[in-house]
């Protein structure tokens, strides 16, 4: 009886160790699709010279949200929170693109104004 209890404990201990090591080992490789998509959206905006030049602050806010999502993902693996932050980061990239469009049009107005005079 005693032996079986000892065996059970060892088995449970081994199972726990295996689970912990597996989750630790896989942790680095596991990726969150929403976070990966948001990173992709952000990186594409980073390659757009108009967005970088005209909406640097807005783009930086997107980067900060992405970094927060990455921290939550690596520390807690909180899928709901990471998907939420990834969504917010994508919206922030969209805001940066809209800001760049507005500034581009405003610059155009400034260039056209002397011609009108």
């Amino acid at each position: 009886m005693k032996l079986s209890i000892f065996f059970d404990r060892r088995a449970v201990g081994a199972a726990l160790l295996l689970t912990a090591s597996l989750s630790l080992g896989c942790g680095a490789a596991v990726r969150n699709p929403a976070l990966e998509r948001a990173k992709d959206v952000y990186n594409r905006a980073r390659q757009d010279r108009e967005v970088v030049a005209r909406a640097a602050v807005a783009l930086d806010r997107a980067r900060l949200t992405l970094e927060q999502a990455e921290r939550v993902w690596s520390a807690e693996k909180d899928v709901v929170e990471v998907e939420h932050l990834a969504f917010v980061a994508e919206k922030r990239v969209e805001i940066a693109r809209a800001t760049a469009r507005r500034r581009q049009a405003a610059d155009e107005i400034q260039q056209l104004n002397p011609q009108r005079d």
């Binding site: 917010v88 469009r101 107005i109 056209l112 104004n113």
Partner: protein, 148 residues
């Protein structure tokens, strides 16, 4: 010896219900802490910020120029208020954050559209002025010899 064994056995049996409930209680506690039901602080600050940004977006003519983003932001704000009333603060906080960022996006899109339309309008007027001045300068030399 038998009495000692007996009392130990009795003590173990008394401890058993406690042990039986301890681990499930701990698991439940952890699950509750990690779930969205965990009670945090009510997200009043982000909720009022979302409301302000929604008002700003409406003032920037987002109703007309970015209606889908504005509508989505309004729906998220309402859902956030419902979650807040039900005490689901984490959900309310996330919904308010989405409402806020969507309202900001609606305003940014509306402002971009307004500025683009202004630039297009200015370009058209300049083109019209240029055509007019070209036309008048083309007609001037024909008048000049007539005067002489």
């Amino acid at each position: 010896m038998s009495t000692v064994f007996g009392s130990n056995h009795l003590r173990q049996r008394r401890k058993a219900p406690f042990r039986r409930w301890l681990i499930p209680s701990l698991i439940l506690l952890c699950a509750f802490e990690n779930s969205s039901c965990s009670t945090g602080k009510p997200p009043t600050e982000i909720l009022s910020k979302a409301e302000l940004d929604l008002r700003a977006a409406s003032e920037a003519r987002a109703d007309e120029l970015a209606p889908m983003d504005l509508q989505s932001a309004r729906e998220k704000l309402e859902a956030s208020k419902r979650a807040m009333a039900a005490g689901r603060y984490e959900e309310a906080r996330r919904l308010a954050e989405i409402a806020q960022v969507e309202a900001e996006l609606a305003a940014a899109k509306a402002e971009a559209e307004i500025t683009r339309r202004a630039a297009d309008d200015l370009r058209r007027r300049i083109d019209t002025l240029r055509v007019d001045s070209e036309r008048s300068s083309a007609s001037e030399p024909s008048r000049a010899p007539a005067k002489e």
